[in-house]
Amino acid sequence: MSYDVAVIGAGHNGLVCAAYLARAGKRVLVLERDEVIGGAARTQEVFPGFKFSVFSYVVSLLRPEIVRDLDLPRHGLHILPLESTLTPLPDGDYLAQWGDHDQNRAELARHSLRDAEAYDEFGRLMYQMARAVKPFLGMVPPDPTSLALRDLKALLRLRSGLRSLGAKQFHALHKLLTMSSADYLDEWFETEALKATKSASGIIGTFLGPRSPGTAYVLLHHYMGEIDGVFRAWGFAKGGNGSVSAAIAAAARELGVEIRPNAPVERVLVRNGRAAGVVLQGGEEIEARTVVSSADPRRTFLQLVGPEHLPPDFTEAIQRFKFRGSSGKVNLALAELPNFTCMAGAGPHLRGAISISPSVEYLEQAYDDAKYGEVSRRPYMDIVIPSMIDPSMAPPGKHVMSIFVQYVPYQVNGGWTAEKRDAFGDTVVNTLAEYAPNIKSAILHRQVITPADIERMVGLSEGNIFQGELALSQMFFLRPVPGWAKYKTPVHGLYQCGSGTHPGGGVMGASGRNAALTILGALR
């Protein structure tokens, strides 16, 4: 049997890409090595009755155009609000950020009247910049060194977008591109917990600290989701992040896409410098005129294609592409809710995010440990309790907790072992217990996931959640390597559509869509 397109990997990007291709009339097959689809956007019943978004755990940047084009709500996508962020502090106080403007202002004013005032202005400036930068997400990155008409046109479009910014916003954008998130936030705020919690969004998925230059830009990515405001693409997917993949898969199937789980691709079939299909483990050959890989660039080129089919400088550039996984995950099944010392009881604060990020120094020290190959002794943690938002995630009265943890270096001293994994799990629970002392006795089951586990379980190299560090040196026309940022590869008929390509990770689906439109020649 022959297909127009074979897509490697049924993660959300692979599925988005497949759906768009099928929508244009192509015969598409998606091959997934696992029995579960979704890649890192999956829901699994890890312990009986307890369902987890095992890896990625919230929806923040899923492109609204994808939601509309594929009619995902009809296919079961239901995004529930996640409106607050609670930052418990070691002294028993807390900083809460609420969805309601008045409530949020009152809480910020409790810490600093100045910050309460600056907050709105900060938000407005970020909004204006995000609005100008947002079109970048949906475009094939033009090569600024190219004189091709298509590149020049795209560059002109970018320029006019940026020119619509006022001088003030343009200057701020330049600062964002060059500063550390801590320094940038220092210009606005004085409350440590606020700066720390905000700067945390600048370090996720990178091997950088809040004081590392370049992290400020990532802050802006968070505001892109907020522009969509009423559209509300920000929140918790009912049923966990697996339902994002499931909805995309359902849309894809309706459009005629065939999805095969338990079908690990061993290599891409290359004939005369052209992709001709794929070979599965076990030897089955599948012919396809076009092959799209949603695996990360290292896996795609060094493992599935092989250097023998690639120009040496390209191979070298791929080898240089940085992964440096720095995050882990602890999933807990709980007999009861955590009781935070700073805000006792089961209140609305448990329906939002809980951020262990008391100060910028705390985060930077967490990074210091990782720089020298250790798990942070006091890690940054981003916690949600999905069962508070969607009770079907756990048996009645019981709860599930998702703890995203950073820094957990892939290259840990001495390598990852079962003991090291347990010790990492203990560190996380002990740290949390300082703020919610009942947590230890509440734990029924514990799943601890290191970057090495992420690599093993979903194939993300070095456990990097973004398929390659989301650092300025690896973004836009540089992602994954200069000259090959347009989803095309040196092998004719082979494309990439994973988050290792522009615009990167965060369950956006933009890479999958951009790749599909490139393949269809629809994007100019």
């Binding site: 008045d102 409530q103 202002r105 009152a106 009247l113 100045r114 005032e117 600056a118 407005r124 006022g166």
Partner: protein, 396 residues
């Protein structure tokens, strides 16, 4: 949690309507009774008592207090005398209005400032190098407005201070009963009226004293719906409704200069070097592109539109606050109204509107969009002088 004001223990049991409105993070009564009408008429015929705690309030003190305020606001603060209150706006460096409020000179170097939005950061940032203290007293200073023709008589029963000696836009420190208060002859109704400023812990005692003393005079707690009608009649603009603060505007087009808001009179021509002064001087020279005017809709025109569908004219029962297109008669859009409603006192349909300067002269005929039985129509009207209602007692 939303906050409640210092008067909440008194206002909550009175609020039969259960209609509350948010104001700067507090809840205040929209109307106490099921309909706001009686509360409105109290403001115009006896006295309405309004909880205005949610205003932002700042105390500015020190040898450089005048310099700071003169740097920030558009009016000339140095020229004011102790006991004087200035209504003013303040702008960003481009001369676009950030906020408006009052500056009360309590003594040579002590000022009290009110604003619609928080301004602590703006005041602090502008006080670099100045010997001045800025304190946000929004929470500890409670405030009431007593507005209406009987307001003076009511206050007089509670103080030995000669209320008639407090001139329009003046402030005095005195006592009500035995409670220390500041009383300013200011308000948001365009009527005879006062605002009473007190420590939050004294709030309930002051409220009780006023209700007791005022009952024979018809004192009536009044909510925001009543105030909204009164302030439109008084031609007073409201931030976030009639204009967008330059601090919140997402685009330059959303911003306004004082000249465009009919606040030219607040922009000091003889003061040098305040925030926005350069841009404002240029704007004064050039003339504003827009003007903020009063609009009066012709009754006959409304009646014709409604009778065409077999109805008598229907009037808004509360003041509206939204953007409504204004047209040149039979022609293109030349502006938009931002607040409007039926004036029960004047028996006129009035609105506050932004018009391109060419169409802003008094008497200019215009048309305003009205929706009659689900259809968009144009009612004719004309530009009129603000305030719509300006009783002599306001200043007398």
């Amino acid at each position: 949690m939303l906050r409640t004001t210092a008067f909440h223990p008194r206002t909550a049991p009175l609020c039969e309507s259960h209609a509350w409105r948010r104001w700067s993070g507090y809840v205040v009564a929209s109307s106490y009774e099921l309909v706001h009408e009686r509360e409105y008429h109290a403001i115009r015929s006896s006295a309405g008592l309004l909880d205005i705690c949610p205003l932002y309030k700042y105390r500015v003190t020190g040898p450089d207090a005048v310099r700071l305020l003169d740097r920030v606001v558009t009016r000339n603060v140095a020229r004011s005398t102790p006991g004087q209150v200035l209504y003013t706006c303040w702008c960003d460096a481009a001369g676009k209005v950030i906020d408006d409020g009052t500056v009360a000179r309590l003594s040579e170097d002590t000022f009290s400032m009110t604003s619609a939005d928080p301004n602590l950061r703006w005041l602090e940032d502008n006080s670099t190098g100045l010997d001045v203290g800025v304190e946000d007293v929004s929470e500890n200073l409670a405030a009431l407005a007593l507005q209406g023709p009987s307001s003076r008589a009511i206050l007089q029963t509670l103080t030995d201070f000669d209320m008639a000696s407090i001139r329009y836009f003046r402030v005095v420190s005195t006592t009500l009963g035995r409670i220390p208060v500041a009383i300013s002859r200011t308000g948001y109704t365009g009527d005879l009226g006062y605002e009473i400023w007190m420590q939050a812990q004294d709030a309930l005692s002051v409220w009780d004293a006023l209700i007791e003393a005022g009952t024979p005079y018809g004192i009536t707690p009044a909510g925001m719906l009543a105030l909204d009608v009164a302030r439109i009649e008084a031609g007073l603009m409201l931030m976030d409704v009639d204009y967008v603060s330059a601090r919140k505007a997402l685009t330059d087009r959303q911003t306004s200069t004082p000249f465009e808001l009919d606040l030219a009179w607040t922009v000091s021509a003889d003061k040098e070097n305040f925030v926005g002064s350069g841009a404002l001087a240029a704007e004064r020279e050039r003339g504003p592109e827009w003007q903020f005017v009063g609009i009066e809709i012709d009754w006959d025109s409304l009646e014709r539109l409604y009778s065409a569908v077999g109805l008598a004219p229907r009037l808004p029962t509360t003041a509206w606050r939204m953007s409504v297109p204004i047209y040149e008669p039979g022609g293109d859009q030349v502006g938009y109204a931002t607040s409007g409603g039926w004036s029960p006192l004047l028996k006129k349909y009035i609105a506050l509107a932004h018009l391109r300067s060419r169409w802003a002269r008094n008497g200019t005929r215009i048309e305003m969009e009205v929706t009659v039985e689900h259809q968009r129509k144009r009612a004719s009207g004309r530009v009129v002088k603000k305030p719509f209602f300006d009783p002599e007692r306001k200043r007398a």
